[in-house]
């Protein structure tokens, strides 16, 4: 049973107030993109055992989407941050590096 802190309203709420939205920082492929690119956009998943970046919505609270950096093996939450960004902020990446030296995730490290 996760506890997450919504960066939009500051509530540190239990999992049942939130809704998981799957992998984060996915770039949309629209018309004109290759079958390969479109497939990856919709279906190819990182699904790592370890550091992961994902989307959550505070559905029973302020209704806002946000990002979470989490370990899928220990469920440790490294931090939550705005949904309006295309990559994890530096402070979050630093926090992860401190806890999981040498981590990588897609193009991030």
């Amino acid at each position: 049973m996760l506890i997450l802190e919504c960066p939009c309203c500051g509530v540190r709420g239990e999992e049942t107030e939130f809704h998981g939205g799957g992998e984060a920082h996915i770039k949309r492929s629209g018309p004109g993109s290759s079958d390969e690119a479109f497939h990856d956009y919709l279906f190819a998943k990182e699904n790592p055992r370890g550091v992961h970046f994902e989307r959550w919505r505070h559905v029973y609270g302020c209704g806002k989407w946000f990002h979470a950096a989490r370990c899928t093996q220990t469920l440790e939450v490294f931090g939550t941050y705005s949904a309006q960004t295309t990559e994890p902020p530096q402070d979050i990446k630093d926090k992860i590096s401190a806890r999981r030296p040498g981590w990588t995730w897609r193009e991030f490290a």
């Binding site: 309203c9 049942t16 107030e17």
Partner: protein, 192 residues
């Protein structure tokens, strides 16, 4: 006006605490950018109220305004004033990107009254919220989950709470609150 009916028409029940449907209540959803210069002033001009801080609610006589999300507020006023206040707000905010909608009829409101510790326990049976007296007090607005439906609540004073939910589930919310405050179910956890 007599034709207007609130969801449960003021039904009430006395258990560990007294649960009552609050009847018709004006409510208005306001969305806009706090950061935007003049926005708060425009709202104050139309409502006479200051925008509340994050997760709080401010009240003045028959009006109140609650923080709902970084770009959303819930205004409360007498039911019959709602349409005028909507018009007033729209006028005051004209030219800015905003949204003002009357949601008075989309919601149901309940009042809970009783011993403060007991009232907190009734709420804590249904909502996954830390209701310890030292960590949740009057003036704080909490949007959360009541058993299986969304709801919001705040304490107007020790021993007095308001709960808001969607109109369609008013009966469910009422039944929940009554079950949670049924005879013999006092928890005795929050010490007065």
């Amino acid at each position: 006006m007599s034709e207007a009916q609130s969801a449960l028409r003021g039904t009430w029940h006395k258990g560990l605490v007294t649960v009552a449907e609050a009847g018709l209540q004006g409510m208005i959803t306001l969305r806009g950018q706090t950061g935007e210069a003049g926005f708060a002033d425009a709202v104050k001009q139309a409502t006479g109220l200051d925008l509340p801080d994050t997760r709080t609610i401010v009240a003045a006589d028959k009006r109140a305004i609650a923080w709902m999300s970084p770009d959303e507020w819930l205004l409360m006023c007498p039911y019959e004033d709602a349409h005028d206040m909507v018009a007033g707000l729209r006028a005051a905010l004209a030219g800015r990107h905003h949204l003002v909608e009357n949601v008075s009829d989309a919601r149901a409101m309940f009042t809970l009254d009783g011993d403060d510790a007991t009232l907190r326990e009734v709420l804590a049976k249904l909502a996954p919220v830390d209701l310890h007296p030292e960590r949740f007090g009057p003036g704080e607005m909490r949007r959360t989950r009541f058993a299986q439906v969304p709801g919001a609540f705040w304490l107007t004073a020790p021993g007095a709470a308001r709960v808001v939910c969607f109109r369609s589930v008013a009966q469910y919310m009422y039944d929940l609150l009554c079950v949670a405050s049924s005879e013999g179910s006092a928890v005795g956890y929050f010490k007065p």
